[in-house]
C-alpha cells in the first residue's frame, strides 16, 4: 500500500513538473520556431557604406518618449507635440541652418520706418493639404485664435502686443504694434498657421482637428494610434517643395533602454541618446557602429548655478565671482556629460550672431576665488576649515530638482566649494514643490537649473528688474539699471546688426556681474541608421534636423514595410 502510494506521488510529481515546464517555456519555444527570418540577421549582411544618389521613397521610423496631447502646438505646448506638428504646419518665418530668420510661408517682409508695423508678403498659390488655398485670411484667423481669451494657450501674451492685425489682400498680412517689438519676428516664426476653413466653426480647445489636422508643410498625418505611433505621409501640396522620404513614423516608447534595444534590432532608425549610450556603449559595440551613425549638435539649453541676490552674501559681486572662479566647468562637462558639452559664457548659442565671441567663461582659479573672498571679508578666522565673516561660517544650500545631471553637477560644485572653504549642502526636490515652496517665495540660497539658449536674443523676462514678482522668471532678483536699459533697447530695435551690438554688451555685463554661473551646455545626441542619407555632418548651429526634407533612403536600403516589427 505504502509502496503504491509513493509511486503515485512520483507520477503526479513528474506530470506536474512537466506541466510547469511546459507552461513556463512553451510561449518562448513556439515563437522561437515560428519566426525564422530574423530582421537583424538579414540586415547585418547589408553593406551600408555604398553611396547612392538622392531618391524618393522609404519610411523613417523614430522613437519618442512622450505622446503629443494634440497637434495644435499653441494649445498642446509639449515638445512631443511641437516635434510632430512642426512637420505638418508652417509658420510665416523660420530659422535657417545658421539660425537666421528667413521666410517660410512669406517671400519677404517689411518693417515700417517707425518699426511698429510689419508687413508680410505671402508666397503666391499656397495650398493646404486638402487643396484649399492658404491666404492671409488664415494668418489673421490664427492670430485671432491665439489672442482669444477663450483659447487655452499659455503663449498668447506676445501676440496680444499686436494692436492691429489686417489682411488687406490675399497675399498680404500686416501687424501693427503699439511700440516697436523686436522679438515679434521670432514669435511669428513660432506660430503655426491654422486653416480657417476647417476651424472657423470649431472650439479650438476641444476640436477633433487637433487629432486629425490639415496643414501645409511637408507631411500630413495619416494615422495616429494612441499610445503606439503617429504616421505621417508626404503632403503632395506642400508649400516648401517635396520631401524625399515618403513616410515618417514616430513610435511612442517611453523607456530609453527599450528604445535602444529597438534601435539595436533595427526596428527603429533614429533615437535621441544619452551621454552614456553615446560615449560608453557605442564605442564598445562595433556591431552597432557598422549600421548606425552618431551625430552631435549643440543642444538648446544650458545649466547654471543661480544666486538668490536678495540674500547675503550673494548681493556682493566679489562673492559671486569667487564662486564662479572656484567651479571647474570642464570637470562638470567631463563628469556629468562625459565630455559631450561645451562651456558657455552667455545665454546664447555659441556660433550664432547673438553670442559675443569675445566672452570667455571664468577659468577655474581657486586662488583668485580665495583672494576675492578675502576682499569680501571671508577668511578662516577660527581655523575650522570653513571661511567665516563676523563669526558666521560661510555655508549655504544648493537647491535643485530631481534631475540626475543637475544632482551630479551639484555634487561636483559642492566639492570644489569645499576646497576653498565654503560648506554647501545639496537639497533635491520634486519639481512642483521645488517651484511652489522655494522658487516662487524666493526661499533659496543657490539653485542649479537650466534655461534655454533662446533663438531670439530677447531675455527681458529673465533678467529685467521688473520681472521679479512671484511666478515671474527673474526669481534670482537680478537688478542692474544698465542691463534693464539694454534689454529695453533690444526690444525696440528690429535691425539685426544694431540689435546684435546691444546683446553683446548685455552679455558682457551679465558675465562680469555673475548673477548666475554658466556651467555647461550639453550636446543633443542622435543615433541614426546609416540607411538614412543626406544628413549634414558636422551639424550646423540649427542642428542636423534643419534639412530633414533632403534626407533620403536609397531604395536598396528601404525596409520591407510588411515585415517591420
Amino acid at each position: 500500500m505504502m509502496q503504491i502510494k509513493h509511486n503515485q506521488y512520483q507520477l503526479i510529481k513528474l506530470a506536474l513538473s512537466k506541466l510547469v515546464f511546459i507552461a513556463l517555456f512553451t510561449p518562448l519555444m513556439i515563437t522561437a520556431c515560428s519566426d525564422s527570418s530574423s530582421s537583424n540577421q538579414i540586415n547585418n549582411k547589408i553593406d551600408y557604406t555604398k553611396s547612392y544618389p538622392p531618391s524618393n521613397g522609404g519610411t523613417l521610423i523614430d522613437a519618442m518618449t512622450g505622446e503629443p496631447s494634440g497637434l495644435i502646438a499653441m494649445i498642446a505646448g509639449e515638445s512631443a507635440a511641437s516635434a510632430i506638428a512642426g512637420n505638418i504646419f508652417n509658420s510665416l518665418l523660420r530659422y535657417d541652418k545658421n539660425l537666421e530668420l528667413t521666410g517660410e510661408l512669406v517671400d519677404t517682409w517689411d518693417v515700417s520706418k517707425d518699426q511698429k508695423t510689419i508687413t508680410f508678403h505671402l508666397k503666391p498659390n499656397l495650398k493646404w493639404a486638402d487643396n484649399q488655398p492658404l491666404t492671409s485670411d488664415d494668418v489673421l484667423f490664427t492670430w485671432q485664435k491665439v489672442t482669444d481669451e477663450k483659447t487655452r494657450t499659455p503663449y498668447g501674451s506676445d501676440f496680444k502686443l499686436v494692436m492691429k492685425a489686417e489682411a488687406p489682400d490675399a497675399n498680404t498680412f500686416r501687424v501693427t504694434y503699439a511700440a516697436p517689438y523686436a522679438p515679434a519676428l521670432d514669435t511669428w516664426a513660432g506660430l503655426h498657421i491654422l486653416p480657417k476653413h476647417l476651424l472657423k466653426d470649431q472650439d479650438i480647445n476641444t476640436t477633433a482637428f487637433a487629432r486629425n489636422p490639415v496643414g501645409s508643410h511637408y507631411y500630413k498625418l495619416e494615422k495616429w494610434k494612441n499610445g503606439q505611433f503617429l504616421k505621417l505621409t508626404r503632403n503632395e501640396n506642400a508649400t516648401q517643395g517635396q520631401a524625399k522620404i515618403d513616410n515618417l513614423l514616430s513610435r511612442i516608447i517611453p523607456d530609453k533602454a527599450a528604445q535602444f534595444l529597438e534601435l539595436s534590432a533595427d526596428n527603429i532608425d533614429s533615437m535621441g541618446l544619452n551621454p552614456i549610450q553615446y560615449a560608453r556603449i557605442f564605442p564598445a559595440r562595433p556591431d552597432l557602429n557598422k549600421n548606425i551613425a552618431l551625430y552631435k549638435e549643440l543642444g538648446n539649453s544650458y545649466t547654471y548655478l543661480g544666486f538668490n541676490l536678495k540674500r547675503k552674501p550673494f548681493d556682493d559681486v566679489r562673492v559671486r565671482q569667487a564662486i564662479n572662479y572656484a567651479i571647474n566647468k570642464q570637470e562638470i562637462i567631463d563628469g556629468v556629460l562625459l565630455g559631450l558639452g561645451e562651456p558657455v559664457a552667455s545665454p546664447y548659442k555659441p556660433g550664432t550672431r547673438w553670442s559675443n565671441p569675445e566672452l570667455k567663461p571664468y577659468p577655474y582659479d581657486p586662488n583668485k576665488a580665495k583672494a576675492l573672498l578675502k576682499a569680501a571679508g571671508y577668511e578662516d578666522h577660527d581655523g575650522d576649515g570653513i571661511l567665516d565673516k563676523d563669526g558666521k561660517p560661510f555655508t549655504f544650500e544648493i537647491l535643485t530638482n530631481q534631475n540626475k545631471e543637475r544632482e551630479m553637477t551639484g555634487v561636483l560644485i559642492q566639492r570644489r566649494l569645499n576646497d576653498i572653504g565654503i560648506k554647501a549642502n545639496i537639497r533635491v526636490l520634486e519639481w512642483a514643490s521645488f517651484l511652489g515652496r522655494f522658487i516662487k517665495p524666493k526661499e533659496f540660497d543657490v539653485v542649479v537649473l537650466g534655461w534655454s539658449l533662446s533663438l531670439d536674443p530677447d531675455q527681458y523676462s529673465i533678467w529685467h528688474s521688473s520681472q521679479q514678482a512671484p511666478g515671474q522668471f527673474n526669481f534670482i532678483s537680478y537688478s542692474n539699471p544698465r542691463v534693464d536699459k539694454l534689454l529695453e533697447a533690444g526690444r525696440l530695435e528690429l535691425n539685426p546688426d544694431k540689435r546684435m551690438k546691444i546683446y553683446h554688451e548685455f552679455s558682457k555685463i551679465l558675465l562680469e556681474d555673475s548673477p548666475i554661473v554658466f556651467l555647461s551646455a550639453g550636446y543633443g545626441l542622435t543615433a541614426i541608421h546609416k540607411r538614412v542619407r543626406g544628413i549634414s555632418n558636422p551639424a550646423p548651429p540649427a542642428g542636423i534636423g534643419h534639412n530633414t526634407y533632403e534626407w533620403y533612403i536609397p531604395s536598396a536600403y528601404a525596409r520591407n514595410e510588411m515585415s517591420e516589427h
Binding site: A23, S38, S69, E78, R152, S157, S433, L435, S454
Partner: protein
C-alpha cells in the same frame, strides 16, 4: 442572503463618497497643478496666461468648491475631460457635432491592461497551483525546497531588469519576439490570424514578466493551504475508507485548500485594472499604469479622479464578490452570513 446583498450594496454609496473625498483632498495636497509642470516653466509662457488657464479649469476656486463641481458632474456619470490631453474625455468616447468620435482615455487603456492582467493571472494560476500542490506533497524535500527557491527568485528579481534581459535575448539577439509595443507597424494590413499572432507575440514578455512576480504569493498560499488540509481529520477519514490517493488529494484536499484563494482573487479584481508603470513603460504599452502615472506627474486631476473612482468601485465590487463567492463555496460561512 438577498437582504444581506442589498445592505452591502447600499453601504457602498457612503463608502464611495468617503473614498472620493479623501482622494480628492489628498490629490490637492500635493503641490502644483497642471500649470506648474516643468515644461511650462518657460519664459514664453507668462504668469498671466497661466493664471488664465487656472481660472478656465476652476483651479483658482477653493478645493471644496472644486469637489462640489466634480460631484455634480459625477452625479450624471460624467468623468469630465483631461486637462493635459487636449480635452480628451477621461472615461468614455464622445461625439462632436460633426460626428467626430473622440475615444475616452480609460476606454482605450483599460482593455489593454485588463487583457495583460487576465492573461498573467491565468498564467499565475496554471503555474502556481501545480507548484503549490507539488510543494505540499513533498514538504521539506528537495522538490519543495527548489520550488520555493524558484518562486522567491521570481518574486525578488527586479522586473525591469529581467524584462530588459529578456527583450535583449528574445528581441535583439534572436528576433524571436518583438521588443516593445502592442502591435507591429504593418498590423492593419494583416489578416485576422496574423493580427492575433502578432498581438500575442507582443504580449508574451509583458505577461510573463507580470506573471513571474505574482507566482510566489499564490503558490505559497496553495502549498500552505494544502498542508493544513492534509492534516485534517476528514483526510484521514477519506484515506481510511479506502479512497484512491488521487481522489483524496484532488477530490477532497485541494478543493478545501483552494477556499482562501477566492478571497485573494476577489481582492485582485481592482488590481486587474491597475497596470504596472514600470512594465508598461519598458514595453511601451499604453495601459492604465502609464496613464495614471502620467496623470499624476501632470497633475491632470480629472484623469486621476476618474481612475481612482473606477478603482474604488471595482475594489468594493471585488470585496462583495469575494464574500458572496466564499459564502457560496463554504457552507460554514454561508450559515454565519444568514444568522
Amino acid at each position: 442572503m438577498l437582504k444581506y446583498l442589498v445592505k452591502r450594496i447600499f453601504w457602498m454609496v457612503p463608502l464611495l463618497i468617503g473614498i472620493s473625498l479623501i482622494s480628492f483632498f489628498i490629490m490637492h495636497l500635493a503641490p502644483g497643478d497642471i500649470t506648474t509642470s516643468e515644461a511650462s516653466f518657460n519664459p514664453k509662457a507668462s504668469e498671466e496666461s497661466r493664471q488664465k488657464l487656472r481660472e478656465l479649469y476652476s483651479l483658482d476656486k477653493p478645493v471644496i468648491v472644486q469637489y462640489g463641481l466634480w460631484v455634480k458632474r459625477m452625479a450624471t456619470l460624467d468623468f469630465g475631460t483631461s486637462f493635459a490631453s487636449h480635452q480628451r474625455p477621461v472615461f468614455w468616447q464622445t461625439k462632436d457635432k460633426d460626428g467626430n468620435v473622440t475615444l475616452g482615455m480609460i476606454q482605450e487603456a483599460l482593455p489593454i491592461t485588463l487583457l495583460i492582467n487576465v492573461l498573467s493571472l491565468a498564467l499565475i494560476i496554471s503555474v502556481a497551483l501545480p507548484l503549490g500542490v507539488v510543494s505540499a506533497l513533498n514538504q521539506n524535500q528537495l522538490t519543495d525546497r527548489s520550488i520555493t527557491l524558484f518562486v522567491f527568485i521570481g518574486f525578488a528579481i527586479p522586473g525591469f531588469w529581467l524584462a530588459l534581459m529578456l527583450m535583449y535575448w528574445t528581441g535583439v539577439q534572436h528576433a524571436w519576439l518583438p521588443i516593445s509595443g502592442l502591435q507591429s507597424i504593418g498590423h492593419e494590413n494583416m489578416n485576422w490570424l496574423a493580427q492575433t499572432t502578432d498581438t500575442l507575440k507582443h504580449l508574451v514578455l509583458p505577461v510573463f514578466i507580470s506573471g513571474i512576480t505574482g507566482l510566489a504569493g499564490i503558490s505559497l498560499f496553495v502549498r500552505n493551504g494544502m498542508l493544513e488540509v492534509l492534516h485534517q481529520d476528514y483526510i484521514t477519514t477519506a484515506r481510511s475508507k479506502g479512497l484512491s490517493e488521487n481522489r483524496v488529494i484532488y477530490g477532497h484536499a485541494l478543493r478545501n485548500a483552494l477556499l482562501p484563494l477566492i478571497t485573494i482573487f476577489g481582492l485582485s479584481i481592482p488590481g486587474l485594472i491597475g497596470g504596472s508603470v514600470i512594465a508598461e513603460s519598458i514595453f511601451a504599452i499604453p495601459g492604465m499604469g502609464k496613464l495614471f502615472y502620467d496623470a499624476v506627474l501632470m497633475r491632470d486631476f480629472p484623469v486621476i479622479m476618474g481612475i481612482l473612482t473606477i478603482g474604488a468601485v471595482l475594489t468594493l465590487i471585488g470585496n462583495l464578490l469575494a464574500d458572496v463567492a466564499y459564502a457560496w463555496a463554504d457552507p460554514r460561512v454561508r450559515r454565519g452570513v444568514v444568522q
